[in-house]
C-alpha cells in the first residue's frame, strides 16, 4: 500500500479497510488480520493500526471479540456504503458540479461520456 502525505496514516488505513469491505474482499462478519499482521503488511507502527481498528469499532464497521480477534460487523458493507454515498454527495458532487461549470460541460455531455466505453480517448480527442 502506498501512503500519501495528505492525511494521517490511521485515516488512510481506515479508507483502505473501507475499500476492502466495499469491494467484498472482506465479507460481512468475517475475521480480519490481527493488529500485528496488519502492521506488518502495511509496514506501520502497530499502535497506528490499533488506533484505526478502535475508530472503525466505534463507527460500527469492526467488532472485537475478546480473546479471538477482530471481525467485520454483520452489516459492515451497508454501513460503509452509506458513509461513502454521503461523502460522494456532500463532498465530491459539489466539486464535480463546480468543475463542470468552469469547463462548460453540460448534462448532455456527461450522458454521452457515460455511455462511451473509452472515456479517456474521447476526452483527449
Amino acid at each position: 500500500m502506498q501512503f500519501n502525505t495528505l492525511s494521517p496514516i490511521y485515516l488512510q488505513i481506515a479508507e483502505y479497510i473501507h475499500d476492502l469491505i466495499l469491494n467484498r474482499i472482506w465479507d460481512d462478519g468475517q475475521r480480519i488480520p490481527s493488529v500485528r499482521d496488519m502492521a506488518m503488511e502495511l509496514e506501520v507502527n502497530p499502535n497506528t493500526v490499533i488506533r484505526t481498528y478502535a475508530m472503525l469499532q466505534e463507527e460500527g464497521t469492526l467488532e472485537n471479540q475478546r480473546g479471538i480477534g477482530y471481525f467485520t460487523a454483520k452489516d459492515a458493507r451497508s454501513l460503509v456504503l452509506k458513509q461513502r454515498r454521503e461523502k460522494f454527495i456532500k463532498r465530491e458532487l459539489p466539486q464535480l458540479f463546480s468543475t463542470m461549470e468552469t469547463l462548460g460541460i453540460t448534462w448532455e455531455d456527461l450522458q454521452q461520456y457515460a455511455h462511451t466505453e473509452e472515456v479517456g480517448n474521447e476526452i483527449q480527442a
Binding site: T5, A39, M40, N45, P46, N47
Partner: protein, 295 residues
C-alpha cells in the same frame, strides 16, 4: 523564521507504564558539556524514534540508559534499576544494536550458541525466520560480512532475544533497498505491548510510519517527546502562493510553488499532517535553542 511557540495537547499522548526515567541528568566528555538538566520518560509498548542533529548526543543517550556510560549528575532508572550497576537481571532485558561494531571471527551459528543463553526468552525459531527473511547466510563468518549483513544478523538476534527493551542505533544504515522494507515489516511484527523499542535515526523516510512517539534531542536536552498525532491533531500544513507574514505563521518553509505554512487546526480545517522531516524542523526552529518550545 518562527515567531510563536508551538504547544501540544496530550489527548493522543503516550500510553504505557514508564520503563525508563532519566531525571535531571548531566553528562560531559572531558570539557565538552553535552547534557545538562535532561529529563526523559519512555513508556512501555511503543516504538520510539530518537531524532537529533549530528553530535546532538543520540548515541551517548542510548549508552547512558544501557549502562555503557555513566551520568555525572541526576539519575537513570531502567525497569526500576540503575543501569550503572549492570545487574544480570537488567542486562538480560536490554539488547543494544550499535551503529558500527566489530564482530568476532566466527560463524553466526557459533555466535548464537555463545550469546543466546544470556537472554532467557530467546526464540531460536524466530531467529531462523528473521535471518531467512533478511536473506542472511548463517554459515558465513561474521568478520567477513559487509556492514549490512552484520546488521541483519544482530537485528535478527535482537528481535529474537525478546528483551523488554531493544535499542537500535541507526539500524537502516548499510541496509540495501529490499532490506529496508523487510526491516519495517520485521520490526512491526516483533513489537508487542510488553516490549519497548528505541530507534535512533537520520533516515526518517525509512521509518516514517514506523516510529511514534518521537523524541527530539537538541542543545543538550530533550525538547520534544510526544506522539505525531498530538501534533497533527492540532496543527496543519498548507501551501500558499503568497509569502506569509512572519508574525502569524508558526513556521514557514519555501517549497516549489510557494510556501508551506504551519497553522493551528481550526474546526474542520483542511490541511496536511506533518511529516517527520517537517516536524523535526518545526521543533528545532521553534525551540529557539532553549528548553521548552514544543512540548
Amino acid at each position: 523564521m518562527a515567531s510563536q511557540e508551538v504547544s501540544v495537547s496530550s489527548e493522543y499522548g503516550i500510553e504505557g507504564d514508564v520503563v525508563v526515567r532519566m531525571t535531571d541528568i548531566s553528562f560531559a566528555y572531558q570539557s565538552k558539556k553535552l547534557f545538562s538538566n535532561l529529563d526523559l520518560e519512555i513508556r512501555r509498548g511503543n516504538i520510539y524514534g530518537l531524532l537529533g542533529k549530528n553530535g546532538a548526543g543520540k548515541t551517548t543517550l542510548l549508552k547512558l540508559l544501557s549502562g555503557q556510560l555513566f551520568v555525572q549528575g541526576g539519575s537513570v532508572e531502567v525497569f526500576a534499576q540503575n543501569p550503572q550497576k549492570r545487574t544480570p537481571s537488567l542486562l538480560q532485558e536490554i539488547f543494544y544494536l550499535p551503529e558500527e561494531f566489530p564482530l568476532p571471527k566466527m560463524k553466526a551459528t557459533e555466535y548464537l550458541a555463545m550469546l543466546s543463553p544470556f537472554y532467557p526468552r530467546f526464540d531460536h525459531t524466530m531467529f531462523g525466520v528473521y535471518c531467512k527473511d533478511f536473506d542472511v547466510d548463517l554459515n558465513q563468518r561474521l568478520d567477513q560480512m559487509s556492514l549490512g549483513q552484520k546488521k541483519k544478523v544482530l537485528l535478527s538476534f535482537g528481535l529474537a532475544s525478546n528483551t523488554a527493551l531493544l535499542i537500535l542505533d541507526e539500524p537502516t544504515n548499510g541496509l540495501d533497498i529490499p532490506s529496508k522494507r523487510q526491516f519495517r515489516q520485521t520490526v512491526a511484527s516483533a513489537m508487542t505491548e510488553n516490549r519497548t523499542f528505541i530507534i535512533s535515526t537520520h533516515q526518517v523516510r525509512d521509518m516514517e510510519n514506523l516510529i511514534d512517539p518521537i523524541i527530539i534531542l537538541h542543545d543538550g536536552s530533550v525538547i520534544f517527546n510526544d506522539t505525531v498525532a498530538s501534533v497533527s491533531d492540532k496543527y496543519v500544513l498548507n501551501l500558499t502562493t503568497s509569502e506569509p507574514s512572519k508574525e502569524h505563521a508558526l513556521y514557514t518553509e519555501k517549497v516549489l510553488g510557494g510556501w508551506m505554512v504551519l497553522s493551528e487546526r481550526g474546526e474542520g480545517s483542511e490541511g496536511q499532517p506533518l511529516d517527520l522531516e517537517t516536524l523535526f524542523n518545526v521543533v528545532i526552529q521553534t525551540s529557539k535553542g532553549t528548553m521548552g518550545g514544543v512540548r
